[in-house]
């Protein structure tokens, strides 16, 4: 059903997309060709239209090819977990004809949707349109940015799953059968091969998606905790506070993060991890106070410390655009609420007897915590992914 829908969507997209490639002339030529086609059919003659039809087909073929290239680029690039820059798309896919971007982008998204259930989305800069704080407005002015309320696009793109949330949840749930097969096929189970001493990231729960294989789970876990902390602190947390809380979680600045053998990094500290998350766009670090004006080095994280002009600068952390697009405030709030509502040890109590009412109680607690987080985040209501 959905496939049909998207497929039929694709056709119009494709034909729309011709003008940019063939420039203005292309469009009128094409529509003329169409008209002529119809006319000719009636007049039972079809000589003139043919050539132009071929030209139009060429344009179409070129567009399709570029769309496929963009799909490849997006899929490959995603493995680096950094955003795909529009410049890179222009350079690698569009070549000389960068004006066809919109058409190619739309066609590529059609393929991604249909084939992989994914989409390329542009990251938006972090400040919500409505309440651009004074400080930020000032900053924008200082940076010479035009005051366009809606123009918050960053020209950075990430790949995002479009599958239904219910489906994703099921695909992330443990499954004994898959797990058993996975275990028996693991190289460590084969006597001929050396065992990997590093067990991090080798344990599978047998879900349809192999998260343990595709990601550094410990790093992601720490990221989500940090996102949660920022959210409940009112969407911004001072560097000092964040460090203090992390320390309490046994994660001081130099604590090593467990990494699976897949990485080529020998070890990574919390500090390095924070810098990396900033670079990837999950977090934003900004200088507050005196240095604020020149201090916002978006996407450059640790680099800010370098131009420290002697005064001890204070920093604060916010969600980065990628976190807003990939995780979403509501999801993190839900995650926190469910975590807070679950009382360890309760599961063991005789479930059958109080099962139903207990379930209700948990739900209620989840809601209460969720509303609490919403209040704590202060200001705009919690945003879904965008």
């Amino acid at each position: 059903m959905a496939r049909q829908a998207t497929r039929s969507q694709r056709q119009p997209q494709a034909s729309q997309s011709q003008p940019p490639r063939g420039t203005q002339g292309g469009r009128s030529r094409r529509s003329r060709a169409n008209d002529e086609d119809e006319d000719e059919e009636m007049a039972s003659g079809h000589e003139g239209g043919e050539q132009e039809e071929i030209a139009a087909e060429k344009v179409q073929a070129e567009l399709d090819r570029k769309a496929r290239d963009l799909v490849r680029l997006a899929l490959f690039h995603e493995q680096r977990r950094t955003a795909l820059k529009r410049d890179e798309i222009s350079k690698k896919v569009l070549g000389s004809n960068s004006r066809s971007f919109n058409a190619v982008f739309a066609a590529a998204n059609g393929i991604l949707r249909n084939t992989f259930g994914m989409e390329l989305v542009e990251l938006h800069s972090t400040t919500p349109d409505k309440d651009i704080s004074e400080k930020d407005a000032e900053m924008l002015k200082a940076a010479g940015a035009k005051k366009k309320a809606t123009a918050t696009g960053t020209k950075n793109y990430i790949l995002r799953s479009l599958l239904d949330a219910a489906l994703i949840e099921k695909a992330s749930a443990p499954d004994a059968e898959i797990r058993e097969l996975e275990q028996s096929e693991h190289p460590d189970a084969n006597e001929e091969f050396a065992e990997d001493d590093n067990k991090v990231g080798t344990r599978s729960i047998g879900s349809i998606f192999a998260w343990h294989h595709a990601d550094q789970l410990a790093s992601v876990g720490i990221l989500y905790v940090i996102l949660a902390l920022i959210l409940v602190e009112g969407r911004v947390i001072s560097d000092n506070d964040l460090r203090a809380i992390l320390k309490r979680l046994q994660l001081p600045a130099n604590a090593p993060i467990p990494l699976s053998s897949q990485t080529t990094t020998q070890s990574q500290t919390i500090d390095a991890h924070l810098a990396q998350l900033t670079r990837q766009g999950f977090l934003e670090k900004a200088r507050v106070g005196n240095g604020a004006r020149k201090g916002t080095k978006r996407g450059r994280g640790g680099a800010g410390a370098a131009n420290d002009d002697g005064t001890l600068a204070a920093y604060e952390w916010r969600w980065g655009p990628r976190a807003l697009a990939e995780v979403g405030e509501r999801a993190v709030a839900q995650f926190v609420a469910e975590f807070m509502a679950a009382r360890p040890g309760e599961d063991d109590a005789d479930e059958d007897a109080v099962g139903a009412s207990q379930e209700e109680g948990v739900q209620k607690r989840v809601q209460i915590v969720f509303r609490g987080i919403e209040r704590a985040a202060s200001g705009a209501p919690l945003a879904d992914v965008r």
């Binding site: 680029l73 990094t265 020998q266």
Partner: protein, 344 residues
């Protein structure tokens, strides 16, 4: 976006992309679970999982119909160790875009290629290389890589399924590498490759006929099937009866001779023209010496090559430079925060 039957394939592809390479058995199980998940999410969806091979093949065909226009393929190959059928999404085009298909840095890819070269050119058809020889390869890189960084990188190659590491610490090709880099391997090591006489796929572990000059090579699993019904070599008709089976020569790690890669470094120019043929012949002669003139002490080999090792080394450097320039479908991917941050 509601859940529909078309989501089975999308979910499946996402699952495959998260795993990279997996057995047919596991892939089919995941397909079944994808169908279950879609049906749970939308009860009106009416699809049935069928466990028979035909249905699976049809499903693979339909997956490939979606992937092929993108120059990707859901390809399969028999694992040389277990004989199991393995599936992976493979890139079939080595364009500029594909060069991004990796989380490894340029240096790490150059290192991978250097190690690959040692494996491909290993003497005695052993197709494996010791950890020592691997670490030595950092010297062939244009950029600096410490030995400990090389160790981490090697274990990353293993963890991501690009290389296999044996109990004895030797590295060899994985099914993933053979599957994904087949075109690169065939182009680069045309003269060094062995094809299975039975299934025509690349052999890096298996058996070889014991007749001099006989070209018969077989995967272990192909051989196991073959010997049930046949008792002579398919090429030279040499008798392969029970008594003679022990004479068959191994291909792969069992053919490795202690110290074979300790003192020498093998490398060859990319075969771009005729002028390479000499070198190729040389290599072949090396093999023959080692293989056929059995008693030749293994030490003599390094000695023989030592004289020309200087020239070879130079050739190797050139080769790796060349390789770096025209990267085919570069391998592996991993997060490389450190290095990247230091580069910025």
């Amino acid at each position: 976006m509601g859940v529909s039957s078309a989501d089975v394939q999308r979910l499946f592809l996402q699952a495959i992309l998260s795993r990279r390479i997996l057995s047919q058995k596991l892939a089919a199980k995941i397909w079944e679970k994808c169908i279950d998940a879609v049906k749970e999410a939308n009860e009106t969806v009416d699809i049935e999982y069928r466990a028979d091979r035909n249905s699976w093949d049809n499903f693979v065909t339909s997956v490939n119909e979606a992937l092929n226009p993108l120059d990707l393929e859901f390809a399969h190959l028999h694992d040389e160790v277990s004989g199991k059928e393995m599936y992976a999404v493979v890139n079939r085009k080595g364009d500029e875009i594909a060069q991004l298909a990796t989380e490894y840095t340029a240096t790490e890819i150059a290192y991978f290629k250097a190690v690959l070269e040692q494996i491909m050119l290993a003497p005695n058809e052993s197709f494996c290389v010791s950890a020592m020889a691997c670490l030595r390869e950092v010297n062939s890189l244009k950029t600096n890589m410490t030995k400990s960084q090389a160790e981490t990188t090697l274990s990353s190659f293993v963890a991501r399924g690009w290389l296999l590491k044996s109990k004895l610490g030797r590295y060899s090709l994985s099914t993933r590498t053979v599957l994904e880099l087949q075109i690169y391997l065939r182009n680069t090591y045309e003269g060094e490759l062995l094809d299975c006489t039975i299934c025509m796929e690349l052999v890096t572990r298996g058996i070889a006929c014991y007749t001099n000059q006989c070209k018969t090579r077989m995967h272990t699993h192909c051989f196991n099937n073959f010997k049930r019904r046949h008792h002579q070599c398919p090429s030279c008709s040499q008798s392969w009866t029970e008594a003679n089976l022990a004479k068959l020569r191994p291909v792969g790690e069992p053919a490795y001779r202690e110290g074979q890669d300790l003192n020498q470094r093998r490398a060859r120019r990319k075969s771009t023209g005729d002028d390479d043929e000499d070198e190729e012949d040389e290599e072949e002669r090396d093999y023959e010496n080692g293989d056929d003139a059995e008693p030749e002490p293994s030490q003599s080999q390094p000695a023989a090559t030592q004289q020309k090792s200087k020239g070879k080394r130079k050739a190797a450097r050139e080769a790796s430079e060349e390789a770096e320039e025209q990267e085919e479908s570069p391998p592996p991917q991993t997060q490389t925060q450190r290095r990247r941050s230091s580069r910025r």
